[in-house]
């Protein structure tokens, strides 16, 4: 039914900066990646590398003093026609009819993601009425159905609960119900399981996968947890300091990682075969302060394989290296 040749979403050289008195934070500085229809894209990277800001940029809800200063966010409709979201008025009708309708969002903190003074039902019904133009009674019926679909027991009673009355797992399920109430084509999940215990975490991930299969929606999954990526994702984007350093299929990233940063990231996770009490690998150095980003390749100060005289002066571009994998690193450029 859908045009499979175009992606669902294509982010091209996105730049989102925060203009503060102390200086400009280049939270996202030239990120490019695609989200394929019906597939799951993982976005990984250290804290502060701009994952959440990228997500907010796509929804056009970056808060002041932040602003998209460059690039394109191409949203392809069912017919494959692109719209550049960066050109839309964030509060305008067109952008708002995408938000919540075509693109759903869930957050790490399900407690604070709900209003403390409105019922869960109020917030789901609001979204359904806004986008589906149905009566109050019908919206309520659909909201109960949405809660049922995410596995909340007794949804006709839970719908009138407040978020603080639900357990952490149920809260995140309710959050998913809100995000999916209008059957979006893309779900952006920003660390959806970080605040949950391991068992609940697995249940929520299973639920997401199940719902994805039923509805054929795409998921953009932001996470720190490479285990989650391995389990859930089709493709992976690795970000570092606001840039995409490597993109590839899960297999390619886990088995043939090219970028030194990706490889370091992979080494830092414990494997089941790692003997106990052995010091885990850490990436040397720390993330540079956002105000003084390194020149050249942003990773060069921490890179064990940097090429002197090149990496600190020039910025490598993202280049295809076959198999749908791309990497931005001079090690893989044919230098004269």
């Amino acid at each position: 039914m859908n045009d499979q040749r175009t992606p669902l979403l294509s982010v091209r050289d996105l730049k989102t900066y925060f203009f503060q008195d102390e200086g400009t934070v280049k939270a996202v500085d030239g990120a490019s990646f695609d989200v394929a229809r019906g597939q799951t894209l993982g976005i990984v990277g250290e804290s502060g590398c701009g994952k959440s800001v990228t997500a907010r940029s796509i929804l056009r809800i970056v808060e002041a003093p932040g602003r998209i200063v460059g690039g394109q966010i191409l949203w392809y409709d069912a017919k494959g026609q692109p719209t550049d979201l960066t050109q839309l008025d964030p509060d305008g009708h067109q952008m708002r009819s995408l938000r919540g309708r075509e693109i759903g969002l869930i957050f790490q903190e399900p407690m604070t993601s709900f209003s403390p003074v409105h019922t869960v039902g109020n917030q789901i019904i609001e979204a359904i009425r806004l986008h589906m133009g149905v009566s109050k009674a019908e919206a309520r019926r659909r909201a109960i159905e949405a809660l049922r679909q995410v596995g909340i027991p007794q949804p006709e009673r839970r719908i009138d609960d407040y978020a603080f009355q639900l357990s952490g797992g149920l809260r995140q399920r309710a959050m998913i119900a809100v995000a999916l109430s209008c059957d979006p084509r893309l779900l952006i999940a920003d660390e959806p399981t970080t605040a949950l215990d391991v068992t609940t975490q697995a249940q929520i991930l299973d639920l997401l996968r199940e719902l994805q299969q039923q509805r054929g929606m795409a998921i953009m999954l932001i996470t720190h947890n490479l285990g989650v990526v391995a389990e859930m994702c089709d493709d992976v984007v690795v970000m570092y300091l606001g840039r995409v350093v490597e993109v590839g299929s899960v297999d390619a990233i886990f088995h043939q990682a090219k970028h030194p940063y990706t490889r370091a990231l992979l080494r830092s996770i414990p494997a089941i075969t790692t003997p106990p009490r052995v010091k885990l690998h850490t990436i040397t150095g720390s993330i540079p302060h956002p105000y003084n980003r390194p020149s050249g390749c942003p990773f060069h100060p921490r890179c064990p394989e940097r090429l002197r005289g090149l990496c600190e002066v020039a910025e490598p571009a993202l280049r295809a290296v076959g198999n749908g994998q791309s990497v931005s690193c001079f090690l893989y450029e044919n230098r004269a």
Partner: protein
Amino acid sequence: MLAYILRRLILALITVIAISILSFVIIQLPPGDFITSYIASMSAGGGTVSEAEVEALREQYGLDQPITVQYLKWVSQIVQGNFGMALEWNRPVKDVIGDRLTLTVIISLAAVIFTWAVALPIGIYSAVKRYSIGDYIFTFIGFIGLAIPGFMLALIVLYVGFRYFNANVGGLFSPEYAEAPWSWAKFQDLLAHLPIPAVVLGLSGTAQMIRIMRSNLLDELRKPYVMTARARGLTEMRVILKYPVRVAMNPFISTIGYLLPYIVSGSIIVSLVLSLPTVGPLLLKALIAQDMFLAGTIILLLGVMTVIGTFISDLLLMWVDPRIRLERR
């Protein structure tokens, strides 16, 4: 929930008793018992008090009995609506306070409505458009409002009214209605006089409230639920008014109880300048004249009204904030 209300009610009752003891102490404060002062002030005014009348009063208030009995007798008089005599006025305290208390409540309400009507929108604007030119302008005006004493503003208003409009803008009534019994026309006259005192009394509170609303709302705007509301596709206006503003308003509801004493004590000088018939100046006069029945009664009534106000704001808060309603069972 019921237990919560009950607990609040008991607390309110205890507070009222404490206030009544305090008022009683205040009445007892001047040297000699108040019958003596009553006789003294009567004879100073050229009147006389018969021996029988004095005896009746001593009996009524149990002045030759222990202090606890005196307190209980006094309380039982109060409960029956007998607040004693206002010495200086030589009239029952009830008559002296009467309308003034009602008018005080009306003026306070008007001042509060003015404050909220002005401060809430400006506070919201300042938070949403933080560091904009508008925010700076409002902040500047707000600080000026905070810095100018109310009586000064009252004087300026009086002067401007007199000089340029040749009108006496003081008072709450036109002369022809001041002593007239209540009627529809008198009520309309009151409404016409209300805006100036309401603005003068409300202005400093307005500046303060803009600051509080601004910072409350800034805190709320940062919370994830605002972002998820935006992500649902609501208009920005709707997002802000329905969610963070609603939460940021809650703290104000809990202040309703303190508004009355705040305005009464803060307004004495303004009321004098604008010659407003409120209880503030009355309290001041009563204290200067050591008219202890009057002073004690005013303090008692203000205290009780504060307790009632606090109780009402507790109920309101419980109604608007489910966290209180549902968590403190």
